[in-house]
């Protein structure tokens, strides 16, 4: 039996799917209304899954008293109530799709010291979700 712990966080942000590498017409064709020039927003939900041994002293894979402030500092503070395209430097050079957002959040959280980051899953809306799983995890299946 394997065990993991998952915590859900929320942030709200705006974005625009648009790339200067394509013409205005191509941007509209590919991204549709997501390419509207003034941007739009979502209430994002981020699920963070950690694995590792359960510490017998605490009964925990990771202490939320350490995880919550880490996620707050690395993701919530820089992303919440922001325009992702302009205010998160990583999205100046790449389109702020939720696929790219998944990869960026995974990159920011993987240095969490107390347990291993297994998965980041983002709900962009209640209908769309995206997830990234640690490659070692995929290979082990």
């Amino acid at each position: 039996m394997n065990i993991s712990l998952t915590r859900r966080y929320r942030f709200s942000a705006s974005h625009r799917l648009h790339t200067p590498k394509l013409s205005e017409e191509e941007n509209r064709r590919i991204y549709g209304k997501c390419s509207n020039p003034y941007g739009h927003g979502h209430n994002y939900v981020v699920e963070v899954t950690l694995t590792g041994p359960v510490d017998p002293e605490t009964g925990m894979i990771a202490n939320l008293a350490e995880l919550d402030p880490f996620v707050q500092r690395e993701v919530i503070e820089p992303f919440d109530y922001k325009f992702l395209n302009e205010e998160v430097p990583e999205f100046r050079a790449q389109v702020a799709t939720t696929e790219n957002l998944c990869q960026e959040i995974f990159r920011r959280l993987k240095s969490f010291p107390a347990a291993r980051l297994e998965r980041v899953r983002i709900e962009e809306t209640s209908k769309n979700s995206f997830e990234i799983v640690d490659e070692r995890e995929e290979a082990a299946k």
Partner: protein, 144 residues
Amino acid sequence: MIRITRKIEFSAAHFYHNANLSAEENRRIFGKCNNPHGHGHNYALEVTIAGEPDPATGMVLDLKELKDILQREVMDRLDHRHLNYEVPELAGQIPTCENIAAMIWKLLAPKIAAGKLDRVRLYESPDLFADCTADAANGTGKRT
């Protein structure tokens, strides 16, 4: 292979305290969860069974049977109980979401007669859950 999932909810009290640590260390590690009077949650449990449907019944496992197992093994043990005092299977352990999920896995795994226990997901709140999954060596689940 088909997976079927049944969900139940139970309510229980707990607090976190390790008698091997000082009062100060307990407060530092467990924070408000260390309050000796305890506190409670509405837990939600999702139990997933994986297997092939029986050609005669079209079922992996009769959900009525699963419902009875969950009543006996989980509800009767945990619902409206204090996890620190009333659950012998958790004796000597901190009743965290991880430890409760692992305990439920160990209770259920030998009781599933058709199909295999694939996943136990225990929600302590809508924003926090622990997953137990089968080892790859046991066939169905993923491994870490």
